[in-house]
Each structure stands twice: as structure tokens, then as C-alpha cells.
């Protein structure tokens, strides 16, 4: 990774600007505080409705219920955002990484030990999401950590898998979510409406696929470029400036 010159001793901006900014920030914080303070101390918000409909949602953890049933549309779009970020990063073409031949033994050992633990742990997180804090995103994050660890060890995804199959897995979470969501429309239900009895299973299925996609896409984001493209290609300049 090319060293980024992190000029620590940046030229300090003049005292005057810093002072005015400070005052402004203080003013902003004060007004925000006042606004928050003026809010009622007791506010139920939507906790009542959530509690009432939890058993209908197929999961017992209210957050997952909100996340994957009541406001599942948000989550759908959110997966889209993640995928979008990936498209964006890949479109930038990424910087050519220089492979350092030296493998750090400690790192090598640790990764051999930790990677399976991470995978196991992410599986658990996925499962526990139904009734305790956890779920697809947290599991995906852990999975990604495993991926990062591997990349630090100069692990390379075989060329064979880095093409269509990689892209398919990346996209799997979103596609499955949409498929399930829209599937029931043909059984004269509304988009993203699950039959109550199947809700639990469906949510788990969606979460599993989401975890997989999130994990791999976060790892790919860390890698920073499209593995299927040969790494030595310089940043390809636009065809028309």
C-alpha cells in the first residue's frame, strides 16, 4: 500500500478561525442540547406497537423484527447501498497493491487459528439474531474480519472464483431478499409481506444470505479493487476525459 504522507504537523489554521469555529460549535451544541432538553422525559415512541406485533413478526427480538419485517424495505435499500458502495469502489479501479514477499509468521499463525473461530462466531451471531441482539449485519462484519485477516496474509482468491461466482455471491443477499419479498405478491400479498407462520424461517433465510453477501462485500471493500481485473493495470483512464 503506498505510504500516504500523513503530515502530522499540519500548518495550524489561524487562531481567529479556530476561535470563531469553536464559538459556532458551542452555539450549535447549546441549541441542540436545549432542543433535546425540551423534549418530554418520558416518550414511548413506537415501542408499544412493536411489542404488540412482535409475535406476528416471526422473531422475538424486537430490533430484528423492525429491521427485517416492519421496516424491511429500509434494510433492502441498505443492502443496495452497500452493494452500491462496492460498485463505486470497483469503478475507481483501485491502486495497484505491491505484494510484499515477506510473510509475518506470527500473523500467519494467528490467522490460521482465528479464521475458523470467526466463521463459527458469525454463524452463532446470525442464529442468535432471532431472539437476542445480533443478526445479519453483525455476523457479516465478523465474517469480513476473517477475510481482512486472510488478505493481510496475502491470501489470494483463486482466479477461477474471482469472476462471476464472486459477483454472484456479492449480489446473492439482495437478490434473495427481493425474490422473497416480491414472491408473495403473486400469492396476492403486498410486497415484503410474509405469511406470519413462515415469517421466522424466511427471515432466517434472508439473514443467512445477507450475512454471506455483507461479509464478502466488506472484505472486497477492504481489498479495494475488482480481483477479476489483473492487478498490474494502472488506473485505466476514462475513454473520454
Amino acid at each position: 500500500m503506498r505510504k500516504i504522507k500523513l503530515k502530522i504537523l499540519e500548518k495550524k489554521p489561524s487562531l481567529f478561525t479556530r476561535l470563531t469555529l469553536g464559538i459556532l460549535m458551542f452555539l450549535l451544541a447549546a441549541s441542540l442540547a436545549y432542543a433535546v432538553w425540551s423534549l418530554p422525559t418520558q416518550a414511548l415512541g413506537l415501542s408499544a406497537e412493536v411489542a404488540k406485533n412482535v409475535e406476528m413478526s416471526g422473531v422475538s427480538n424486537p430490533v430484528t423484527a423492525v429491521l427485517l419485517n416492519y421496516r424491511s424495505y429500509d434494510t433492502l435499500l441498505e443492502l443496495g447501498v452497500l452493494l452500491l458502495a462496492l460498485f463505486g469502489v470497483w469503478s475507481l479501479g483501485g491502486v495497484s497493491a505491491n505484494k510484499s514477499s515477506f510473510v509475518n509468521p506470527i500473523l500467519d499463525f494467528l490467522s490460521r487459528f482465528l479464521v475458523p473461530v470467526f466463521i463459527l462466531f458469525s454463524g452463532y451471531l446470525l442464529w442468535v439474531g432471532g431472539f437476542a441482539p445480533g443478526g445479519a449485519f453483525q455476523a457479516g462484519a465478523v465474517l469480513a474480519a476473517a477475510g481482512v485477516l486472510l488478505f493481510l496474509n496475502d491470501w489470494q482468491l483463486e482466479r477461477k472464483y474471482s469472476g462471476f461466482s464472486l459477483r454472484f455471491v456479492l449480489v446473492l443477499g439482495l437478490v434473495l431478499f427481493v425474490a422473497i419479498g416480491f414472491g408473495f405478491v403473486f400469492l396476492d400479498r403486498v410486497f415484503l409481506e410474509y405469511p406470519p407462520q413462515l415469517a421466522g424461517g424466511l427471515i432466517l433465510l434472508i439473514e443467512a444470505a445477507a450475512t454471506l453477501s455483507i461479509g464478502i462485500s466488506l472484505a472486497a471493500l477492504f481489498l479495494g479493487r475488482d480481483p477479476s481485473v489483473k492487478s498490474d493495470s494502472k488506473i485505466d483512464t476514462g475513454v473520454h476525459k
Partner: protein, 102 residues
């Protein structure tokens, strides 16, 4: 001074610090970090105020929103970092053109 308000206050302070950092520092990495602080400030306020439901279980909807917010922030930061690298590669220094002090 309910604990919810206290945490919210911390969130607000984070928000202001994030904004301060974003404005003042020239280096893109510092700016991206400032944006993240800004984001976490907002999320903290969101979660803190969710705890005003009286009984132990806080309101779940803000929590779900925060999760979505966090994912969005992550992907935005990823894109920002990738862009910063490209800026650095293209212009030799990770600073926006107007902030460049030649």
C-alpha cells in the same frame, strides 16, 4: 437529568466535534474521520433518546434505524477512502485542491 439526556448530550458534543474537525482539518483522512465522528454522534443521540420508554426495554425502531445508518456510514466511508487513495494517486497529496498550500 435523566441518563438518556446525558447520553444525548454526549452525542451532541460528538456531533459538534465531528463538524469542527471536518471544517478545520485539510487532510482528507482527517475529514473522513470527522464525518464518522459526526455520524456516531447522531446515532448516539438517536439511541440515547430511545431509552426514554420508562421500562427497561428501549424503543426498537431507533435502534433499527441506527443499524441501517451505521451500514450506510460504513459503505460511505469505504467509498470515501477509496476516493481519497485515488485523489492521492492523482494529485500527489491527499488534500482537496482548494486546501492545497503551494
Amino acid at each position: 437529568m435523566t441518563p438518556a439526556f446525558l447520553y444525548a448530550l454526549v452525542g451532541i458534543v460528538l456531533f459538534s466535534i465531528g463538524l469542527y474537525g471536518l471544517i478545520l482539518y485539510k487532510h482528507l483522512l482527517r475529514k473522513i474521520l470527522a464525518i464518522n465522528i459526526l455520524g456516531s454522534g447522531v446515532f448516539l443521540v438517536m439511541v440515547a433518546l430511545a431509552a426514554r420508554t420508562g421500562d427497561a426495554v428501549p424503543d426498537a425502531v431507533p435502534h433499527a434505524m441506527v443499524i441501517t445508518g451505521i451500514v450506510v456510514a460504513v459503505s460511505a466511508t469505504a467509498l470515501a477512502l477509496a476516493l481519497m487513495l485515488r485523489v492521492d494517486a492523482e494529485t500527489g497529496q491527499a488534500v482537496l485542491p482548494e486546501d492545497r498550500e503551494e
